[in-house]
Each structure stands twice: as C-alpha cells, then as structure tokens.
Point group: C2
Chain length 422, copies 2
C-alpha cells in the first residue's frame, strides 16, 4: 500500500467536514494511480472486505413476473431483510401507483436500522414525490445507451445532464442521500458515461451507479469499467447486474475487486426477466472470500428463512441448484468425494453448512458409492465390520444400485443382512 | 497479431505428424509471449470464438444427488446431446460399477458424431478397463491440493507424476485421446501444478485440465491461472467449474478469454452438490459474445427439450430463474422496460428468444405497467383509443392492480369497458 494515500482514505477525506485538513489534500489522486511503481491496483482498489448491500427485492423484485406484494408482505420482507443486516432497502418508485407511495411511507415509518431508498426516473416530477415519502435517499436512474436514448426517453446527453443536475440539487437540498445511475451502462458510450458521472460527482452525489440492465456484461469488462470510473469520481460506486447470461454474482464480485462499494441484490435474484444478483448466492461468494467480514455484518443463518418467505410470496420453488439452500448444496455422492469429506469436510466444501444453520449429507445409497462411505454408515449402525468386509458389502450395494435406485433403508438392510450372515 | 506465430497455429503444429516441418518450429513459444511489444495478450489468447464443449451430464451429472440413469435414459441423453452438437460426451468411469462399464460400451457403439470420453482416477487398474470400452479418449484426474493429498489419496507430487506418466503412456499406446487434470486446482500449490502439467505436456497429452472442484474460484483468479498455464504447456486446456458460489458460467467464460479451449458443462449444471457450469447458461453467455459461432455449431433451439429430458430423468423442476428457459427469462414487466421493448427488443434483450424457439412476453397486467404497454394491448384488441385515453385507462388499471393481482382477462375487461363507455 502507498503510505501517503490509499483509495479508501481519499474517499473518506472527501466526505469530511470542510475544517478537516489532511496532509494529502493537495495530492492529485489520478497522478498517484498512474505511478507505475505504486501499489498493485488490484489490492489498492478492492472493496471485497468492505462492501455494502442495497437490497432490492421490494423494487427490482417487484418487477419479477410473479410478484404482487401486499403492504403486509412488503413490511414482513423489509423487517426480515433489516434483521438480516442489509445496509439499504430499495423500494419501488412512489409514482408507480398510489399504493406504492403509501407502502413506501409505511416502510419508512418502521424505524428500521437499514436505510430506506426509493428508485425513480431522473425527472423532477418523480423526485418531488419521492422526497416527501420519508426515505433516507433517492436512487435516480436514466438510460444512457444508444438503444435507450433512441427507443426509451429519446433524449441526448446534454438533456440528461441538465435534468440530472436539477434533480440531484433538489434531492440534496432536502438533506437526504442521492445516487445517480446510468442504465444499460455496458452498451453506453464510455466518454459519455465518464462525462456524466464526473459531472454528478462534482455536484456531490453520494453514489454513482453502473447498471448491466440487459445482463450482457462479463467480469473482465466489469473490472475495466469500474476501475476506470473509480479513477474519475470520488464518490462511492454502486453496481447492478442482471443475470441473463448467468454472470450476475461473478460480476458483482469482480466489481468489488475493482473498487465498487455497493452491490444491488434481491432475494433469489428476483427481478425483470430472470433477475439480478441473488442475495444468497452473493453471500456464498463473499463468505468464500472473507468469511469474518460477512459473518460480522450479516445473519447468514437466516438466508433460508428469507428465501422461503419470498419464494412463498411470489409462488416459486427454491431452485434445486441454488447456492447454499438448494436441496443438495451440501450433499456428497461420488465415492472419492465421500471418502475425503468424511476425513475432512474442507476437502470438498468451500462453505461450511453450519454457517447457514444447515447440515452436510453423505449420499451413500447409490452405485457410485465407495467403501469409506459405507464403512461410515456401518459405524453409524453400531455394527462391526473389517475394511475387507466393508469393501465386500459395498460391491453388493453397487450391484443392486446398478439395477435400481436405492434409498437409505435398502442399504441398511443389505448391510444388516451381510452382517448377520457372517 | 504477431505474423510469425500465434497461439492457435503453434498448438496445431504440435499435433502434426513428425514429418511436418513448419518454418516456426525452432521458435520458443514462451519467448515470443514474453515480448512486451507483442500483441495484446487478451486478444492473442482468447478462445471465446473457438471453444469446444465437453458435456458431462452422464458423468458429473450422475454424481447429482437425484441421478439414477438407466441404460435407456443414458442413450437417450447421449443422442440428444450429440444432435445438439456437443464436441465430447463424458461418461462415468467403467470401474464405478459393472453396469457403468456396459453402458459406456453401449454408448461407444452408437456411432455418434461426438467423441466419447470416460473419466477415471489416475490409476492403471482404472485405465486398463477404460481403454477396452471403445471410448475415443480417457479423462484422467488426480487431486493435487494439500487437502486432497492428505485426506483423499495420501500421495505426494512425485508419486502423482510417476503414476500419471505410466497411465498417460499406456492410454496413448492404445491410440486414443488422453487428458490429464488436477483436482481442486485453485487450492493446489502453483509450482507443483505447473510442474506436473509441463511434465504431462512433454509426454504428449491432448489436453490438461483445471478443475475448480470445490467452487471457490473467482474470474480474475481463473484468468491468471489459465493464462499462466497457457504459457507453460502447448496442449489444449480444459476447464471444469463447480457452482457453489455461483460463478461457474463466468469462470468458464473468463477461462476461454485466457486461452482455455474446452469447457465442461452438464444439462442444468447437475453434478456434485449444486453442480457445475450449466449447458444452457453457458450457451446464453457465449451467444452474447459470439452469436454466429455458437449458432453455427450448436442447435440452441433444442436446449429446452434437452433440459426437459434431463429434468424429468432426475426429477427436478427447471429453476424459475434459469437462463434462457426460466419461465420469465423473456418476460418484461416494468412500464419503462415494456415501452422500450415494444419499440425495439434489443433495448432490454441481449438474447433473442427466437434463437431458442421461444417467444417474448410483455407483462402488462400489473400496477407497474405503463401506458405504452396498454396502448399495445389496445391495438391487439383492435380497439381505438387516443394516447390520452390510453393513459387514462392505464391509471384505472394501476388502481385495481394496487388492490389485487391482475390477469390478462381483467385488463382486457377494463379496457373494453372503458372503450364502450366513451
């Protein structure tokens, strides 16, 4: 690390009151970064151990095809997320419908620890309604890609900038947080993007947002864009990734590596189309990277309950292959896997099921089983067989497993029969 | 590109018969790559437009908790994958059970276009059985991490190397393909790994494999390891990624960027625990990157049928948020999304549903709807309303949508009633 200036310190400096005079105040940030003998940018930028969550089940999630949240359900979800420890809860725009506005006000009055945000178009009509709801901050978004500028709002970058300045100054005047995000950032012109971000950063937004609205981005693109943006703005960077091509978790992680600070997530990833970065999957990724940080901030053992709550509200099943809570996420089957897991779970587990209030299962009732798994079962049954005998009964089990699907009772019967025949 | 040597050409050279004398034969590959004035390594290495698939539903997939494939089902799946266009089909080890061996032989006799592989431990006992099954190649694997060396096979790197050399030479002597893979590569000592890979490369394996057996790797790690390995070996590189932390698709893509050539996938990602890179999700990712290449090689419009076939065989539901085939992957709901999609689908779709034989759906029966979506519905109903009238009826729909979940019939009734009242 460079001792005179690191990225996080520099950012803090910019948020300090005016009378705070750090010795580094005259150092130009960009100049330091381009020093080829300076610290490795990868380590210099990373927020992997210092990230925050913007939980958007009640905004992006409401755009999921099946979602219709009653006020009661919204409050239940908001409380569960707050208890889990999310840093921000984002709500549907109060101008979407009359009830959306009322629900926003109701959730603001709950007195949650999490800060409450609402998400609006970059337009004064929306902003005026939003600031009256009692939210702690407003997330403003506008499409900047050629596609969206042509087919959505039809405005040019100058118009976008003028509108943004007006809305941002208005929201700031109310003393609440403001984020400015582009939409479809990865298909927007890079110079346009950097220009508008620098403009809003100078006015003093709390965060700028990058959004992969169509789910097209890949991790190395994300790294490049976030790193570049990080050299242009002093405010925090928030990222929002759709999952159309299955990269939403990896992109979020890589964004943090490049210096983004906040990640948008929703329970089970629900959102437009097949959704965004899922909260549970992101927790799996982040625990693998920095377990202490994640466990110190978030109640990850509640993830299953929260997923069940939301799954029921939107009437979907937990995907069989869901990280952490998929029914077989901690099930080990092949013989060599089972053998090693029995000796030391870390051999085949990067996540510990107990962190999530879950348990491990060794699947030994099948033809891929190995004698170590069967020996373990023999011990559980309080029977005594030599290793050679365990190998013999394993072969019997494999033979029957070739013919039909086995369950635990089948295997136990085979073992007990074998034992009594001795 | 360097005109005298590029990565792919050089690789082909090494697979040419001995009498082939290219003019570049004396050029040391590593020396060229380290030339700082050479081509950008990123572009130089990428196989994103030149990748192959090793489909492992019938090997890794059989390790999925629910999997029990009869011979008939295995043949049905193999034929479907072959028709889809996968380059390789990987099968369970013939030593797993007697029926596994017979099934392997049966699939080899089908005369499929795809090459048939079987997957064995790095052991002569297994290799001797494998080469007699009629397979086109053998995939050998051995654990190289400290964890696996201690708790699985208990062997040191010298023993691993000696065993590998014996097995590789034996398989090569039979005239079939051979791949050597480490297991748990991302928790293995880098020098150990590079040493063993260089050793087996010199003997002349067709491929070396990197396996993220525990699902811990992240994209930038993958890029670094594959790129490094690419500078050490001349053979092709195959990658295998578990999905415990939700990065299996992104890691596969990044591995291709770094010069890996082959990716292991399974239908719906089924495998140990929550599985590996899913075939469908990987297709989504690759189509976003190079649609022409993917469509020229793979029948992606069959992906839904193949997923249904396997989902039924292992008794799971297609995850609601599955890329491409999740029930709402092409459903657009929020007002501003629907508006732009109606004007030009590319605004919010990076994938075209028609490539997969699927259709787009604009979800207009909800409180987030916008007047553009309603106007489109009015047109579909052959009614005539002005824009102002559409906005008015949209407000009515939003009001009712605030109270309860709406379906299409509800909205159509509201529109028709509004129209007849005019």
């Amino acid at each position: 690390m460079c001792s005179s200036c690191d990225s996080n310190t520099f950012k803090e400096i910019n948020h300090k009151p005016a009378d705070y005079k750090p010795i580094t105040e005259n150092i130009q940030h960009n100049q330091i970064k381009t020093n080829p003998y300076g610290p490795n940018p990868a380590d210099f930028l990373s927020n992997v151990s210092n990230f925050q969550l913007i939980e958007s089940t009640l905004r992006e999630g409401e755009q999921f095809a099946n979602a219709f949240f009653s006020t009661e359900t919204k409050i239940q979800i908001a409380k569960a997320l707050d208890d889990f420890g999310v840093d921000y809860i984002e709500l549907t725009s109060p101008v979407a419908s009359e009830q959306s506005r009322k629900d926003c006000e109701a959730i603001c009055k709950l007195g949650l620890k999490a800060k409450i945000l609402t998400h609006i178009r970059c337009h004064m009509d929306d902003a005026k309604v939003a600031v009256e709801t009692g939210v702690d901050g407003v997330d403003v978004v506008i499409g900047t890609s050629q596609f969206l500028r042509k087919y959505s709002h039809g405005k040019d970058m100058n118009y976008i900038a003028q509108n943004a300045i007006e809305v941002i100054n208005f929201v700031k005047s109310k003393g609440i947080e403001i984020r400015f995000s582009s939409e479809d950032s990865f298909r927007s012109d890079l110079v346009d993007l950097l220009n508008i971000y620098r403009t809003v950063d100078k006015i003093g937004v709390n965060r700028v947002g990058i959004a992969d609205t169509v789910g097209c981005a890949n991790p190395r693109q994300v790294y490049e864009l976030v790193r570049t943006l990080n050299s242009v703005v002093n405010c925090d960077i928030e990222c929002h990734f759709h999952n159309d091509t299955g990269c939403a978790i990896a992109n979020a992680y890589t964004a943090l590596e490049a210096g983004a600070k906040l990640i948008d997530a929703s329970v089970l990833g629900i959102g437009e189309r097949n959704g965004i970065t899922p909260l549970g999957g992101l927790m799996a990724r982040m625990i693998a990277a920095d377990r202490d940080y994640v466990l110190s901030k978030y109640k990850v053992h509640k993830i299953r309950d929260i997923e069940n709550l939301v799954a029921e509200a939107v009437q979907v099943n937990i995907p069989f292959n869901n990280p952490i809570t998929g029914f077989c996420a901690f099930t080990h089957k092949a013989g060599i896997h089972a053998k090693a897991i029995l000796a030391n779970p870390s051999t085949y587990e990067i996540l510990s099921p107990s962190d999530f209030g879950l348990t491990r299962y060794i699947h030994f009732a099948n033809r891929l089983t190995g004698w170590n798994a069967i020996k373990s079962r023999v011990d559980q049954l309080n029977l005594h067989l030599t290793d050679e005998q365990c190998k013999e009964v394993t072969n019997k089990i494999k033979k029957i497993g070739d013919v039909r699907q086995l369950n635990i009772d089948d295997v136990d019967s085979i073992i007990k029969e074998f034992h009594s025949d001795l």
